[in-house]
Amino acid sequence: MSRVNRATAAQSLSVSLTVGAYGVAFGAASVAAGFTVWQSCLLSLLTFTGASQFAVVGVLGAGGSAISGIATATLLGVRNTLYGLRMAPVLNVKGLRRIFAAQLTIDESTGVALSQEKIGLREMRQGFWLTGFGVFIFWNIFTLAGALGAQAMGDPAAWGLDAAVPAAFLGLLWPRLINKTDRFLAVAACALALAMTPYFVPGVPIISTALLAVFFGLRARVWK
């Protein structure tokens, strides 16, 4: 392996630590939703994509079925396909390495890799692998810590965990609300999900808002 660019390594490490620490919130949310500590850790090891993990525990925690939980999580994971598409020619790996690369393809590894584009291809690769492995390690350690902590706490509401979970989602969502369309969609999705809640089984109101995203996506091109 060629020499590691120091700035790339520093950026990878800081992203890994910051994002990995969110794992505490996930581990706690997962146990509060009714998953075991072991199941929470498996979700972080195997699913390894934050928004999807929060979604599946959120849907099941609200009483939704496994199918609606899986469907919501999977829709949130589609963006990783697009990241893979972008990263494949940069990484140029085959076989087992491609499998590892796929598992590590998330917001952060892709983000750091793309931010090294001006420096060079070698730094893009380093950014991807360092951030991917870094987030993987910290995310899993912190998930275990959060899950064990929540298990020791007892009633999640007594510790405010029932508000910490939607607050964590909000923290993930906030930076994505860039323009008017995004904000309008966010408000519309809240309204639709709440309006449907009394009449549909849990999980369905959440996943139904994907149709709003499709509608807004089709309209967005007309506005351009």
Binding site: T47, V59, A62, L75, L82, Q103, D162, A164, S208
Partner: protein
Amino acid sequence: MEIDLIDPFWLAVIGTSVLAFLLKYLGHNVPKSWLSNPRILKINSLIPIALLSALVAVQSFTKDSRLIADQRLAGVGVAVLALILRAPFPVVVISAAATSAALFHLN
């Protein structure tokens, strides 16, 4: 260790993990032209906004399929305030938890 696939929690863990990996792996294996339609890219960027917003709303305002305003709502309100003030993520989460817990114990 017994893994019961009928158990919704195990089904969710395994189903979500398998599909998450397949989606990631697909990206590394399909020709770029397949997914470069700008309309698909736009919709793909909007889907997380819709789903995450809906999750926040459902977790803040509902309980057992009923609309309800309780201590969680106050906690999330404080989180919104923290986000507007550009507080870092841990501050957002902890201030929400502290508010909700305080109101829970007052009741």
